[in-house]
Each structure stands twice: as structure tokens, then as C-alpha cells.
Amino acid sequence: MSEIANTIFSPELAARFDKLITIYPMKRSALVPMLLYAQDEVGYVSDAVVTEIAERLDLLELDVRNVLSYYSMLRTRPAGKYNVQVCTNISCMLRGGYEILNHCKAKLGIGHKEVTRDGMFSLEEVECIGACCWAPAMQVNYDFHENLTPQKCDAIFQMYSEGKGRDEK
């Protein structure tokens, strides 16, 4: 049983949160991971997510929103099922990062932080993701794809469209 009645999270996630807040010297330390893990399950940090996390951590919703607005991976609107994050920072830029980004825009027919009509993909231009030596690189949700070419991107999108992509959380 979760410590919160009528939790909006799955029993697994609720149980995980029950435990998570006990491991730190100060339970507020669980806030950033909780927001991210909640987003993984719900798809974004909804108002209901904010309310429940605030309750779990004995914080004001304002405290939670204050933290939420700081971190670039946290979003308050739904993304696509597969969020495509193309790095264009220096190492990727030198090896065609913008070409990859433009290709993804054309292929998916969407721009930065937009979602395809079927909700399958969203696209984001992101800062350095720590794959500089295997540039150009992108992440689809949490999975890295490196040494990209436009053709390779097409194959990756195809794979996810068919439900065959890795989707680690």
C-alpha cells in the first residue's frame, strides 16, 4: 500500500517513491529524481504530479514548481511517445549535427519541441549529451544513437515506428 491514498502513479512507482524518500538524510533530496521518474511514467509533469509529489515530500507546490522550471529535461506538456533529442553542440556541429537536425525536422515534419500528429515522435534540439567522440549523436528517450547519418536516422525512426527500438527507462 502506498503511503498516499489514491496515488496517481502505478503501484510499482508509488512503492518506489515510498522507499526513495527514506534513503536520504533529508527527504527533499528525492525531489529531482521523483519528478523525472514521474515524467517517465505519466509522459510529462502534470499538475497532478506536482500536487502528489509536493504532498509526498511535505513541500509547497510552489517549491516543486520552482525546481521543475529549472531542469531542462522536465516538461509540463506531453511529448511524443519517442522524444528525439538531437545534439548540435560544438563536437556534434562540427560533424554534421545541424544537418541531422534539419533532416529530422524534414523527415518528421515538425520543429523544435513539436509533436507529430500521431503522437509518435517529438523533436528537440539539445545541448551536449556527452557523446562527443561518437558525434553526431542524438537520444531517443534515454537511448543514445551515435555516428549518425541521415540514412541512419531514417532507419532509427523506422525501428521505433515498428515498436522495435530500445526504450530504456
Binding site: T88, I90, C128, C133, A135, E168
Partner: protein, 439 residues
Amino acid sequence: MPTLVSHPDEVRVLSRRFGQGAANIDKYIELDGYKAVQQAIAQGPEWIINTMKASGLRGRGGAGFPTGMKWSFVPKQSEKPKYVLVNGDESEPGTCKDHVIFLEDPHAVIEGTMIAGLAIGSKLGFIYLRGEYRYLLKIVEKAVADAYAKGFLGKNIFGSGVDFDVITQTGAGAYEVGEESALMESLEGKRGVPRIKPPFPAVVGLYGGPTVINNAETIASAPHILLMGGEAFAKLGSERNGGTRLFGISGHVERPGVYELPMGYNLKKAIYDVGGGIKDGRKLKAVVPGGASCPVLTADEIDVGLDFDQMGKAGTMLGSGGIVVLDETVSIVEFALRTIAFYQHESCGWCIPCREGTDWIKKTLTRVYNGGGNKKDVANVQYLAENMLGRTFCPLGDAAAMPTIAFVKKFRQEFEDYIAGQKAGTPIITLDQLVGAGH
């Protein structure tokens, strides 16, 4: 998955387990794993710190502070609990070395955390990974769970009578959190804004307790140093720059990758021999030698040793070891704009010189890039950047200013020619991309 590379000039200390499946705890043990921590228990804190001091190891995050000395600053007696904090928020553009450590040798990070804990008398360590590194976090979490299952972590580690626990933590996307005090704020569940210093973390850190915070590579070096001896490690490197480190060579080279080279290794050789030379036989234009925040070197300035002191003398920094190579086709105006766009995006907004400075430099360079620049813009960019230096709580302001100053000083003619209508290099970014969407 990252591709592992090798070169005959490499000296494999930190990377000696790479490619051997050492994320598996039994494999790690077979390859001398968890021996160093037992030695540390047998010899005691003073021996650990002296060995670390003798090793000449300097912080691999970029600042290059001597690790042994940092550990010795933590007060022996403290009313508040002491903590070890591993900074795996690797976000400096051009840097992906910790990525490989977490993937290939996560137990070395755990063992290093335990050693740091024993050295300072801490019972709890945190390993903080950037949010984007979820698959690596899972690898580290599995490694921590395996270490608990073997009884290596938890109560009475290796029969020492000492308890030690490790907690893994994920970030959620923020370059600024790589700064040590901002990382502590983030770990306390707050916005990642920096704290003013002093007090330094060694005295007042996480939860107000004395804290040692080290980069993941620094921590992962500790077990190797204890096993081989401080002096032996020191001898691998150059004067006052002990040992080896992981260098990430990226950009326009034939064989990009993460290579382990001795401190003091020649930068030119690193690019032309280790990295395989400039891609497609083109000419070298410039090198950003240690991550995006390091002042650029021109092609004529790269005959220099890769250590903290020699790079300092050359007017730049060793930084995080991320060597970014630019060939002759690169427009420095564009590269400078992309660099400042990053810092403007990542400035946490806490300190005005950084928040406003990065924004105005980006605006000015955008105008220049867009063809609407005037002659005063170059001097103005330099003026803005110089006035950010040293005027912020944390080094992000400096990290944005230093490369900007170097770009406009060393490539001033290119900026002026660009403003006069002569565009050098091949433009990549379209303006709407840079100022519109992503930034």
C-alpha cells in the same frame, strides 16, 4: 554504444579494464577489483591521503586542484556527518570520458568513493549522474546492488568495523549542476544555483556537513593509485601533474575517441598521431583543448604539453580533457556564436554579469553572424566578456567569457572581415535555428 579505441601511445591505468566486461562484479574482482579498498582499510586514512598527495593527481573535472590536498582539508572532527560526492554530471561540451568510465568500469567509481570515505571519515557517498545518462545510471545502480550483495557496501565493510553506504542520484538536465555547490543544491532537491564561497565544501558542504566532491574520473583513479603506489602513478605524468588521464578527441579528426594518455603528452601528437590527423586531409585551423570553456588555440599554438601548468602557460586550460579539433572550413564567427549560445542557455541566472553578459554577447554575435554587424561589435564583445570575468559566484561566467575573449582576440581579423562582408568558412547554422527554436 560508444566505440572503444586504442593507440600504441596510450598508457592504460584508468582504462585497463575497459572492454573486458568489468561492469560485472566478478570480472572486476578478477581484475584486482576491491583490493585497493582493503589496503586502504589496513593502512588507514593518513596513508590514503599521503598516497594521493604523492600521486600528484589533480582534479579531472577541469579545475586541476590536487586531490590529496582536497581530502586533507576535511576536518577530522565534525559534529555533522561527512559526505563523499561524486560528480558525474558530465556536461562540458567536448567531454564524454565519464560516460566511458560508468559504462566500462562502474565499480572503480564505487571503490574510489569508498576510499575517499575512508580517507575523510565519511559513512555515506553519493554518485550523481546527469539525467541524460539513464542507461549508465542503471549500470551504476546494478554495480552498487552487486557490491551490497557481496557485503562490500553496508555494515562493517571488509571487517573494518566501518560502515559505508552509497546512494546513486540522477539529475534532470542542467550544465550548471556540474559546478560543485550547484550540484549540492540539486542533491538537496533545489534549483541548481551556486553557493558563495567560502565556506568551501570541505567545511560546509552537502546538508551543511563537510564534503569531499570529486569528478568521477578523479574518484575512479584512486583505487589504481593505491594499488600501484603514489610515486609510481606520479612518474607516469609530468612535473606536478601526476599520472594519466582520459582525453576525448572529437571534431575534425580521423579517429575520434577517448584515449588514456600520460599527463604532459604533446597536444600536436594527440591530434595528428593518436587522433589520426585532420579529417579528409584538410588543414587544421584551431583547437579547443579542454572542453568548450577553454580558450581556443590556433594551429600554430598546439606544440604544447597536455598538463595543467603547460596549458596555463600557453594561455589556455587543460580543463576536462575534451580536445575539440576545428579544420580550415570552420567559421570562427559561427563557432563563437554557437559556444556563447550554449552558455547563455545554461546560465542559471543567479549572477547578473553572467546572465546579462552571455545574453548580450549572444545578441551581438547573432547580429554579426546575420550580416548586420558593425565595427564596434568586436570590441564590444570583448568588453562584455572581460567584465564578466571573476564577477560571478561560480565559474560559469568565466567559462563563457574566456573562450569568447580568445575567439575575438586571436581571430579578430576574421571577425572584421566577416563584418566587412567577407565570410570565411562554411556556414552551418541558419539564424532562425540559433535564435529561434533551440535557444
